[in-house]
């Protein structure tokens, strides 16, 4: 069986790569893709923890907590990511239509 830390290390690597990409790249679509990468790294971490944690956990109030929490979180992250992509790409399209260019460094109208 693969030890837990290997999954976590892969997730961490993907997350940092995504973070670097968000900071470094200027193309908004690529920045967006890097955000997706970070979300997926988090998903992987959630799933790995869910797989390796005991199937029944009891919290301080003596309640049995769901052993599915990790997978549920992944499902909701996926739903949020889908909604986010739809709106985000719509925003990029709208900006492109307005200014005929997409470059995150040039989008500084909201700076005040």
């Amino acid at each position: 069986m693969t030890p837990l830390w290997q999954y976590l290390a892969l997730g961490l690597f993907m997350f940092t790569t995504g973070a670097i990409g968000v900071v470094v790249r200027r193309n908004p679509v690529v920045v967006f893709m890097c955000i997706e990468l970070m979300l997926n790294a988090v998903n992987l971490t959630f799933l790995a923890f869910a797989r390796y944690s005991p199937s029944v956990t009891i919290n301080a109030k003596n309640q049995v907590q769901s052993w599915m929490a990790g997978q549920m979180m992944v499902i909701f992250v996926m739903a949020v990511a889908a909604a986010e992509v739809a709106v985000g790409l719509g925003i990029i399209m709208a900006i492109y239509r307005l200014r005929n260019e997409v470059d995150v460094d040039e989008m500084s109208t909201l700076r005040g």
Binding site: M1, T2, P3, L4, W5, Q6, Y7, L8, A9, L10, L12, F13, M14, T16, T17, G18, A19, I20, G21, V24, R25, R26, N27, V29, V30, M33, C34, E36, L37, N40, N43, L44, L47, A50, R51, Y52, S53, S55, S66, M68, Q71, M72, I75, F76, M78, A79, A81, A82, A83, V85, A86, V87, L89, G90, I92, M93, A94, Y96, R97, V102
Partner: protein, 166 residues
């Protein structure tokens, strides 16, 4: 042992895909390497016995979200070589250093202390559609409904943004 080899193989491909997203200058290539990453990630999910989420990963990310990304890249013609040249300055280097620092710190302080966990303690039906579905529609039914409202908001918002005249 074969498990380990398989995992490292998949992890290597996934990691290369992740690097490719940031390193490729051409957005289409970035998107493609992200597709590779997501596709392999699905198989890593399978190796964690999360079948339903693995296939959902392919269905949602590889099959829908990345197609949307490619669609937008091509629609804006960002793939053309002259479209958007990245600047060559000190920013990438700084980002790389900070990112590597983050990776090193988190790896040594958070991930490696957990290296004693080697045995899975999950139930046998971990990740089967039956188990996931049952939990999703009983304990998590309110978050599920809220997620569906969120998706509806997403639909309305994207139509509002993309339409020239309402």
């Amino acid at each position: 042992m074969s498990n380990q080899i398989l995992f490292w193989l998949m992890a290597a491909v996934a990691a290369m895909g992740a690097v490719g997203v940031v390193a490729f200058n051409n957005p289409v290539r970035s998107a493609l390497s992200l597709v590779v990453n997501f596709f392999v990630l699905a198989f890593i999910y399978f190796s964690l016995n999360a079948q339903l989420l693995g296939i959902t990963q392919i269905l949602v990310y590889t099959g829908a979200i990345m197609v949307l990304f490619l669609f937008v890249i091509m629609l804006l013609n960002l793939g053309a070589p002259q479209a958007l040249q990245e600047k060559r300055d000190i920013k990438p280097l700084l980002g790389l250093i900070v990112g590597l620092g983050l990776f090193g710190i988190l790896l040594s302080q958070v991930v490696m202390p957990l290296n004693f966990v080697t045995r899975s303690m999950a139930r046998d039906d971990f990740g089967t559609p039956q188990a996931v579905g049952k939990t999703l529609f009983t304990n998590y039914v309110w978050p599920f409904e809220i997620a569906s409202v969120l998706l509806l908001v997403g639909i309305v918002g994207s139509i509002l943004l993309a339409k020239r005249r309402i």
